[in-house]
Symmetry: C2
Subunit: 130 residues, 2 copies
Amino acid sequence: MPSEEQLHAAMQGYLDALNRADVEAITSLFADGATIEDPVGTGVHPAAEGLARLVGALPTGSTFTLDTPIRTSHANGAAMAFTVRTAVEGVPVEIHSIDVMQFDEAGLITQMRAYYGPSNLRSGDSIGAA
Amino acid sequence: MPSEEQLHAAMQGYLDALNRADVEAITSLFADGATIEDPVGTGVHPAAEGLARLVGALPTGSTFTLDTPIRTSHANGAAMAFTVRTAVEGVPVEIHSIDVMQFDEAGLITQMRAYYGPSNLRSGDSIGAA
């Protein structure tokens, strides 16, 4: 089973690589055959193609910041709450997500599920609103 | 499918009922046959008995506070990061958890999974440390 330190490092490494838009570093955190569902309810996709599409669609300068410390577990799972700050056609946009990851014995991610709905998106003047 | 408003209300209602240590209100949020795993990796239990045990073990005055807004999804799932503040034999203890819930079509919780590991517990002087 991966150690808590490995789970923390993989979760933080995922955010760090997203902040660099480094597809190679991101995909290196995932096991062969891994899946992603981002957000939950929009379909499960192979991680390799899903992550490349996700990063390819990121506007330059998008940032990913933890809201609160990464949570691990007593097994091969971990979760983290973070905020994506980006812009669409010049309008600032925030997405508040919680990503839940499942890991294999080597500490590679086998499943990523991102929890956010329409109410977790903010743009323009609604940023910072309750 | 439950609306986002229903998911938000159920998640907040769960924390509110925990703050009142109101077992009846908590169990009314769960579907018959629901399961809980708190924390992930320590075994899946029927919700009714698991929740009664969880609340029964809570020291008086324990509080449950959201760290960051509740996340929903585009399906029957939601997640939230929160902090439990309690005390064990007079020593303050904090538990940082992310709870992930699955819902049925009526908006009742069918599955709760709590993500926290040993590194997500703080007590005494370690509270507030990184």
